[in-house]
Amino acid sequence: MQLRFTEADEHFRAQVADWLSDNLSGEFSAIRHRGGPGDEHVYLTERKAWEQRLADGGWTCIGWPEAWGGRDATIEQQVIFNEEYARAGGPGRVGHIGETLTGPTLLAFGSEVQKERYLPGIRNGKELWCQGYSEPGAGSDLAAVRTRAAFHEASGQWQITGQKVWTSLAHESDYVFVLARTDPAETTHRGLGFFLVPMAQPGVTIRPIKQLTGTAEFNEVFFDGALCAADDIVGEPGDGWKVAMGLLGFERGVSTLGQQMLFQTELDEIVRIAKANGSARDPALRQRIAEAHIGLRTLRYNSLRMLSGGDDGSLSREAMIYKLCWSSWHRNLGKLAMDVLGPDAELLDGEPYALNRLQSLFLFTRADTIYGGTNQIQRNIIAERALGMPREPRGQI
């Protein structure tokens, strides 16, 4: 068991930090620390330009094979990159869905044609992706998706019809990956397909949804006979569930350490305020601030365990608890921020509904326990997969 990074890794860290401090300046100074969760709607033009700056420096997709423009970076190097990126105040990555979800999915399940068609756009920071899973009738029960994909013999293309919802950044994306039903006779995880669909076409309509923060980063997406090339289905018709589930396992948490650096800056801000406004002397708040600190360090060592685990891609116990762990921690941090601010937590910076960072944290962290599998679904997964308890029965409605 070895807690520290090697000298070679530390050398790599210095290289990353140098590049970031040279490049995250000038025109990009304004976007430092911006565009994170809850703040994803800001500075989109600048953040897209930043994505290309990163790509030119060779800092997108570093974990990918060299053949596809990556650096074949080790897990340690990926961790270090994410840590330094967050430490430098690197803005929320508009390309993250493509880099962390689409890319690895194509590398694992995609055809050569698909890899050649899509990986360069992601690697070069030019093409953005969004995730088309959830539907009005299929949230936690993702396998209930009803969006249909039918092969149209005359045009030789797939036609997609249905509705997706909560699609983050759909309005900024070039492509969406869609989980859709290829076999209309099925209603479960069988008979699904995984499709790569261009957004800019008449069959796709995007309607933004306003959130409790007053901003709109997710959308409804309507598909009305939207077209998708015959060879833009990943795997075979019927493989959709396997591909979709594989995708969820890919990330293996390398970006979690970067996420934790963001959490640390939030906690640091709360500590700073507590010291300044006297909350630091309140015994109850002292307990909760200490608890937050311990919780964040727990996330860190949990991630390190997760990343040091077997390379077989199987979910270890520490990986299975991770989502529940961080989402609950972050939600509690949002409330702690309000309590440390005290009465001032209620006052806005201005009209219209100008939230400060901590107010936005407080409101948006309520989403953390919902997206990517709610806390209840996480507990079901832990109980069933890690503890071998009986599966939830399906209903008939």
């Binding site: 727990t298 365990r305 520490e318 507990r379 109980a383 029965p393």
Partner: protein, 383 residues
């Protein structure tokens, strides 16, 4: 960075699991609880003579295995899982205490005795209510070639089974460390009946115990005491993680068999979600345990600061203390009525969890230590 056990460490864990599942059964635990010493002597002989566990953190040049805190927590977690009635925690604590004075020939002799399975306990506090120097109620005064020790020490782990006692005693505003034989005149050692019957404790009364100068191992031991207590918290954390894990495992096994309303109670989501919460706490505490053990090893190798060790120990003690109590308490609830019986083991884990939670500080006291580090420090950037 490789934050996982090496193959050797995994083998150690496997052999500990195998050995204890054979010898530290529930029946053996209950038999030891009912015995006068509260210890399973045969188990201790085997564990020392065949497994060499008391020698784990003893340096090689004192006849030990020269391993570290990571190996110690691997084994102690397994002891915690079984409530094994053997004083490995007490003896490992004594090893760590003696390592702080390892240049002393008397200490080196004791280290080799510990490696061979002699029971040696550390007595350092009356814990009214503090566990550190503030709670120390034995004083030492030098008189010519002798030291005179007087006062009281409580919560001495395995104290009435110890062949030698290490006693920390006040000297002025600091403290020293002394070696005593339990037969010393003026010293009485009494077993203290405890709520958790699997972990015997003793009380020492010292009225003018006179010992020779050679038996003073250190006259200036207060910062070492802090260190030893922090390292001990790491060991305690291992037992707590084991206790929490066992509470979870036994509860999951029970709810998988118990049928109500025509289905196993394990199929109810309210039960599944409690079990998931238990696992979350166990694994969270385990992550901090691994971290704290690594920091402990770095400390022993001279590369961690005292503050890092204090922080690591406090974080672990807060998390593992809560985890063990939550898991054992929830475990009783998931067992229903049988959880309240003497017959089922979950009650034993509940008592152990309670005992360990307050030993060397409650979780909220540990959080206050963290709060102090975070909130009371003068900002260096402000200065």
């Amino acid at each position: 960075m490789k934050f996982s056990f090496t193959d050797e460490q995994l083998m150690l864990r496997e052999s500990a699991e195998g050995f204890l599942s054979e010898y530290a059964t529930s029946a053996a635990v209950r038999q030891a609880m009912a015995s006068p010493s509260g210890t399973d002597e045969a188990l201790w002989q085997r564990l020392a003579g065949e497994m060499y566990w008391p020698a784990i953190v003893v340096p090689e040049d004192c006849g030990g295995l020269g391993l570290g805190m990571v190996e110690a927590i691997i084994v102690l977690e397994q002891l915690g899982r079984r409530l094994a009635p053997a004083p490995l925690l007490a003896c490992t604590q004594s090893v760590l205490a003696l390592r702080t004075v390892a240049e002393n020939p008397g200490a080196r002799a004791l280290l080799s005795q510990l490696a061979q399975g002699q029971i040696i306990s550390l007595a350092h506090t009356a814990a009214r209510p503090h566990w550190g120097l503030e709670g120390m109620a034995v004083s030492a005064v030098q008189q010519g070639q002798h030291w005179r020790l007087a006062g009281e020490a409580r919560f001495v782990p395995a104290g009435d089974n110890a062949g030698t006692l290490l006693v920390a005693a006040r000297i002025g505003s600091g403290c020293g460390l002394f070696k005593l034989s339990p037969g010393e005149s003026g010293l009485t050692v009494t077993k203290s009946p405890t709520l958790d019957q699997t972990r015997p404790m003793a009380t020492l009364q010292l009225s003018g115990v006179e010992i020779s100068e050679a038996d003073c191992l250190s006259e200036c031991w207060s910062s070492q005491l802090d260190t030893v207590l922090n390292l001990t918290r790491v060991l305690v954390g291992a037992e707590q993680v084991g206790c929490a894990q066992a509470s979870l495992d036994q509860s999951v096994a029970y709810v998988g068999e118990r049928v109500q309303f025509g289905r196993t109670i394990a199929s109810y989501q309210a039960i599944k979600h409690k079990a998931a919460d238990m696992m979350l706490k166990v694994e969270s505490a385990r992550s901090l345990l691994c971290y704290a053990a690594c920091v402990g090893d770095e400390w022993l190798q001279g590369s961690a600061s005292a503050q890092e060790l204090t922080e690591a120990a406090a974080m672990l003690a807060s998390s593992a203390g809560d985890a063990a109590f939550f898991c054992a308490g929830t475990g009783i609830q998931l067992h229903g009525g049988v959880g309240i019986t003497e017959e089922y083991d979950i009650q034993l884990f509940f008592k152990r969890a309670r005992a360990m939670e307050s030993y060397l500080g409650r979780p909220d006291e540990h959080r206050e230590v963290i709060a102090g580090l975070l909130l009371d420090k003068v900002d260096s950037d402000a200065a």
